[in-house]
Symmetry: D2
Subunit: 439 residues, 4 copies
């Protein structure tokens, strides 16, 4: 059997190459047709059983699925980019993402890992100093970009899958890899959970590249301070009128949206912990001299606990409706995503420390990184823990050229190796270690 060091050396160029391939084909949540196809082909080749489409996620539990017209356009685009018709048929209608399973045949724990694969609606920098530009692997999808490192996450998932097939004989129990669509906006995890993939999982791990001031080689065993959150789209429908001739005939949707925006920010702070509110986008009206008959808001609430977020959401819903009433316009509210709070199991701190001892890639293990952001992996963590399993969300350190969601975001590609190494060593340590009584 080859040494782990040798495996890591062999896998490194594969990780980089696959990451760059995906970086050129970034796809928004629930339109990851090419990404899913490429992953599916490779995982099949590796010997995994593949579950796609409505087998991978519960269709109705997806949130914030794009309109059909948009899905159709993206499906056509993916067909032109080479997705086979039979594969596309399974994914049609925004059923992207996949689950890959492997059973060692030996009794042992059930381990599950999650990798998110979607990109962001950001136009990638064309600065020649931007690393993907230099390396000639910039996004070929105008206005869409892997600006949060999920191209790296997918590559790490492929690396872990490769490890599992090569080291299958040394392992016991079974393995489930979740390649989740639509993490941005907290829209995809719940649908995978509802499909039952986390049922009786003993060990669950996921992770994120980067996050603030971290360094290559540093790994954070757990994360805390997940913010529960809700994502909401609002449309106000009023009535147009000529602003000079008959201003009293209009129903001003622009003013309703403006009022909502301002009053939303006045929701009182909560004494039990941090809360957040943001209206990130407001589009209203068609022309200068017409009273605006439609306005759209994209907004979100967050809370340090699920209870605080629920408080923020309740207040926000009342304010949104009352703002419509203020200006006599119709209010249409669509909750398009949400995440909950979660607590990682602290066992993983010890486990990662043990696993890292012999690693040439992991130079420091930190106990915890406070995320202070929202991640729908929390649905999975909660599900696993509810059934007695142990779950974590790690952070793999890397310097970032620019922060997440920046149009020139970039990470050190060495982090891909670090992450695969961490997963591999944890798998080797835990694969036989099913605790008594956890089930």
């Amino acid at each position: 059997m080859k040494s782990l060091e040798q495996f890591m050396e062999e896998i490194a160029p594969v990780l980089t190459a696959f990451r760059r391939t995906l970086h050129q084909k970034p796809e928004l949540g629930f339109t990851e047709y090419v990404t899913t196809y490429l992953l599916g082909k490779k995982l099949t080749d590796l010997g995994f059983t593949i579950h796609m489409g409505k087998e991978a996620l519960e269709s109705r539990d997806r949130m914030g699925v794009p309109p059909n017209e948009f899905l159709h356009l993206q499906e056509e685009r993916s067909r032109l980019e080479g997705v086979e018709e039979s594969w596309l048929d399974k994914m049609r209608g925004g059923h992207t993402g996949l689950v890959a399973t492997l059973d060692t045949g030996q009794p042992g724990p059930h381990m599950a890992f999650r990798f998110d694969i979607d990109a962001l609606p950001i136009r990638e920098s064309t600065d020649p100093e931007h690393f993907p530009a230099k390396g000639n692997f910039s996004s070929s999808h105008d206005g869409v970009m892997h600006a949060c490192g999920h191209d790296g996450h997918a590559a790490i998932g492929l690396g872990v899958a490769t490890f599992l097939t090569q080291y299958k004989d040394q392992l016991s129990g079974k393995f489930t890899l979740l390649f989740q669509p639509a993490e941005e906006g907290g829209r995809g995890a719940k649908a995978m959970v509802k499909k039952g993939w986390l049922h009786q999982v003993d060990y669950f791990a996921s992770g994120h590249i980067g996050i603030r001031n971290t360094k290559l080689g540093h790994v954070y065993a757990t994360t805390n301070s997940f913010l529960a959150s809700s994502k909401i789209n609002v449309t106000y429908k009023g009535k147009a009128a000529h602003a000079g001739l008959e201003p009293e005939k209009g129903k001003n949707a622009l003013l309703a949206a403006a009022a909502a925006s301002i009053h939303l920010y006045t929701i009182p702070r909560h004494s039990d912990g941090a809360s957040r509110i943001n209206v990130g986008k407001l589009l209203a009206g068609a022309g200068r001299n017409i009273i605006a008959d439609e306005a759209q808001l994209e907004m979100e609430t967050r809370g340090e606990t699920t209870t605080i977020n629920q408080y923020m959401l309740n207040e926000a819903l009342r304010i949104l409706r009352a703002s419509g009433e203020l200006y006599g316009v119709e209010t249409v509210i669509d909750v398009v995503g949400d995440t909950v709070e979660a607590e990682c199991n602290r066992d993983w701190i010890q486990w990662l420390n043990e696993a890292a001892e012999a690693s040439p890639f992991i130079s420091e293990v930190h106990d915890v990184l406070p995320l202070k952001a929202s991640e729908d992996v929390t649905y999975m963590i909660n599900e696993v823990q509810k059934q007695g399993g142990s779950a974590t969300f790690m952070v793999f350190g890397t310097e970032l050229k620019n922060g997440h969601h920046h149009h020139a975001f970039d990470f050190e590609e060495g982090v891909l190796q670090v992450a695969v190494d961490a997963f591999a060593r944890l798998i080797l340590k835990r694969s036989h270690q099913k605790e008594e009584g956890t089930r």
Copy 2:
């Protein structure tokens, strides 16, 4: 029979003296206990039949009647100031104002005149140059002042009554003098109309001293541009909470009132004519570190037509309720007054021109003064016209030291003579002139 010139000479000092007496005893709407008593005594002495209390106005049609505690205090005050118990008994509960009638016994037209008698919640200037201060007849009621000339209106009414009794033999038909309470805020006229006093009146006239840049001796035969209006009190009832310890527990009535104030002013202009909105007073909260649990607004809407005012009122009511809903507080709305639009009959222009020909007091007759303000005399004008009568609201010119509602408001007392002269000459001309078919 004495000449009109002689009568005017005799009445002049009486007018001034009575005006100054009332100026010292200003009383707010529906608490004109002393004013009504003084008028009643004099009118009785003159031989008029007096109708007081619930005989003078329809109790339930009064608007914005002060709270009982305040009425009791004012009744006690008036008793200490000399109002007889039997008179007070009729007026208790805010039933002030009176109607005085006189029948000549000769067939002829029914003429009615209205004089308003209430004062304003303004603390009178103590500037020694202020004419009432110099003349030693400033208000003795702290914080209340005749700053709109209704002391003069009441004196004019007494002058007209004196004229009628002295010239009764030359006149025919019958006469009704309405001494109306609570004109400020548009609260008293409707209750007199509802009592039926304008029933089948042939000629109706009322008037106002001053108004903007007018001159002594100039009389405006009619007024137009009355603004229809609504007067509204609003209370928001929320929930107090400590702003540091538990801000999320409060329901912020102050913010509801602030939001209402701002959004009310955003009601669109109406293309059919002038509209107005004002929140004149906002009182909210008790202490810096407590979330305010109560807030009060005093506001008004106006419109160049009754339709426009109704539009403003409807918009305002929706905004007031939605603002309560914005902050989750209870909204209590009380419409405490209103006025409507009206059109004076243009006949009076000719009539006043004829009447003024021989007058040594009236130097110029103008057709019309655009009021651009609200006056509840409009209820009376409309009622008279609806039944075929002819009605006007005149303006008697005078220079003003300061504008209406100013704490050093003052008019030229000579205007009292001008006004009585105008009424007297119109009466002499019209008393026999009942048009065929007006009924």
Copy 3:
């Protein structure tokens, strides 16, 4: 010499054909490259002297010129649509519109007429019942439409030009036809005035098809109630920040724009006459979880008089800046258009009545139509009157399928004949009638 009736019969199909050609090529203000070219070619053929580009208008006095990138694209588009390079060279950079002059060689008055030629950013209805759809001459420029009848105005101008050349021998004096770009938003007239085209004009006329409930054959000799107006673009520049991680680091441009929108509508009504305010468009922010770093407003003020509009503009500018200050963001204000008030000369009522006597097309002449809207023709009217000339803006009645600026706006094409007939008859009557002493 052919009779006017015969001329009108011959010109009718020409008017319709040219109007439909233009309807298929609608062009936004300052990008009327094709429209100007087509007009220029035809006017040259007719024997007019053509003045284009910077000869037609004062470059720096144009308002709200689109950005260079947009102009370049439109210039390329027009080249592909057949505009000759030499013509395009004169117009580059948004110097569209043209002036056509004709001198009869006989002493006589100087008459000037203005026709506006720009279209609107409206996507034309594809309803098969929409007349241009049925007639197969819908807009071929996606998102741009002649929804205000300026295609008709340009056709009328061509009709008037044709009349002038055919009847030149019967006329005296000289003629100036102004084909004005960018009337929408009040952006083009001033630049033509500044170039001096209205210098010592004796008679000036312009007009508009339709306007509210008018009927084919009815012509309004004058218009009043022009609203003075200002058109303003505002950009707020703030600072982006992650709304979950570091909300305090952001500078929220969306909230500044929302606050501005609401507070702008609270500008008090003006007691001297009608005023208007509208924020017709608000675009802010990029993503739900990012504090918006940029927001754009398109807004306008209006006033029944230039003074009232100036009051509205001054208030608006202060509020716009203070709203930026409220949220600590930079405020960039660009006044992109304005119109002033104007009074048509009432002489035209008599003149049009005389002219219409023998017309088989004009069934009724009305004195005046109150416009209650803004039109930058007012700059021209004022300029002509300042120098002693007489000016009017007529309205040519037609039923409208839908109101101006509606995506299925449509007028009766017979109105083109009515308008040409009215101009022609006025020209015949006035061409010799230079009043003594008007200069």
Copy 4:
């Protein structure tokens, strides 16, 4: 020497009686004339050296001193209630509070204790079940009430003083008792600090009765989570105008205050910790039909750290000024109070545990109570610690009938004994224990 148990038995009725006396004479911050006088007489009798007026606090460092008219009225009131002229002379102009010092003559540590003595502008409940009503010692000052237990604090201070004089022979070092005025609003502590009273103090302790769900006999050795805060009064000065006649002439102070209120609450949450904002009071305008020319706000900001509060204050100041600018009115801002953050020394946990061992009154010692409120004792704590001393702020448990600042607030009087016992036992333990090197 009498036992501590015997002393506590003797002092109990004295504590209760003095607390009730003060409860009947509640006095607002900087008008505690009677309170200071009563304390001063008793402390003099006990043998303390008394420092009053400008000797007790730095006059110019007092914040939020009431207007002179109000001070005069209160001084007169206190004279009528028996304060001697010579005492009053020292206190005139709001120089209330006093410092009492005692030197044992033995070398030892310098211990200082602070007791706050002011009341609140709350009308006390007249419910016969309210304990002060039942006990016949309700407030005799209408609208003022000891609703935060400072009557008890002053009584505890007198108890501690009595203990010190009776046990002087067993003690060493010197003692400073600070009876601080105007704690409410954070207005008095800084002025005492600036006078130098905390100079080289070795041990400093203060405390509060009650606070949330505490129990009689439980004592919290330290407090944390003090919120830094700023107290701000704002006046907007606009221009009155008649809302019907000339709305455009007004400058609306009410709308400026309303806008400020709303926009203040939109200040973004701070990611470093809790922040607070509150506008507790808004008074604006005089009458319904007048555009309000003046408006007043009472508001506050808070922060978990002094830095966060400074951020809130900076944002608030900008918003306040911009809101004035929005409506073209003058903005007058007065910062009338502030508090800072502080950390109690944790030594006191051990010390109180030792002290409480033998106490029959203290049943449980808790380490810390998170205050989450503002207290200007933090100025004193910081001053002591800066010079090397050790400081704490204790909480003495008691059930409360109603929360602090409630009009029927009431505590268990047994807590007075518990508090004196705790101070006494800490003094006995620490009076000889000056640590090496603390100075």
